[in-house]
Symmetry: C2
Subunit: 143 residues, 2 copies
DNA sequence: TCCGTATCGGTTGTGCACAACTTAATTGGG
DNA sequence: CCCAATTAAGTTGTGCACAACCGATACGGA
């Protein structure tokens, strides 16, 4: 009873997350990005020239995930990675011209995503805020 | 502005899903299960002897994900897989004694999960329902 | 009945997540 | 000033997700 699948918040989250990611996939394919790669680009479009550590703390991903992902974005000529001169341990990630330019195409995505669905913007914004609060609470609990 | 990370519902979902999964991890470690394996066990505890296709449609996972996962659960002696006699194409997945027994330990998980947090049960249930509705809408749109 | 088509499960290949570990650079206490 | 502890990024290994493809079985009309 307590264990029924449809009663589990975790499954609702897991399921919704995969469904929304699947909604992005065809749009991101046009940009040649995977979903996590898109998230990294979002962070860099907001502010360029960040360290791997900064990217990781924004996205809550570790170097084990980011290192190979950034390598692929570098191979796609969207960004460069170079050791920081003032601290040789850290690596600064910067957008290339192509990386900056890709932003224009990405601007179209939020508008196209839920178009043709009857999903209200306010409702989605409220859901987003609820989720953000939940994540923050869990995060704070675990530190 | 529209592209800022913190404005994206997708990131809120992705982030919350990973945070909640991380909350399960130490509890599931005690059972020797990963999170997706736990979901499969939830489905089987509800009703035993399901085909791979049935499991997939409940969890919205394809055989490419389920086949190796089920193999690992079989290797852990939690379930068996055998070709259905009436339709040799399909495979019936059944719990072993160990698989059935594991449910008792799993019963403790929902109670232990959010204990020590100030997360209200009603609020979480409402969030779950909102997410389920969202997923259903996206799913229906894509068929 | 026979053949074309659909269905079921599995395999292969790519790309995350995440844990555990490694290497190199930095820092801070004695 | 030196060395032990810390920190940043990368590597390795495991286990999902998902796409593309494959082989075997079942089915349905001509």
């Amino acid at each position: 009873m307590e264990l029924e699948l449809r009663h589990q918040l975790c499954f609702a989250l897991y399921s919704a997350s995969r469904a929304v990611t699947a909604l992005y996939r065809p749009l991101l394919d046009e940009l040649g990005l995977t979903y996590p790669q898109y998230l990294v680009m979002l962070v860099l479009w907001e502010r360029d020239a960040r360290t791997v550590k900064e990217l990781g703390s924004e996205l809550r991903l570790d170097s084990g995930t980011l290192s190979p992902l950034l390598k692929r974005l570098e191979a796609a000529d969207l960004l460069t990675r170079e050791r920081s001169p003032e601290d040789e341990r850290s690596v600064t990630v910067s957008l290339t011209t192509r990386g900056v330019a890709l932003r224009e195409k990405a601007e179209e995505i939020p508008g196209r995503l839920f178009c043709g669905t009857d999903l209200a913007g306010d409702e989605l914004a409220e859901l987003r805020d609820t989720l953000t609060r939940l994540t923050d609470k869990i995060q704070r609990r675990n530190t």
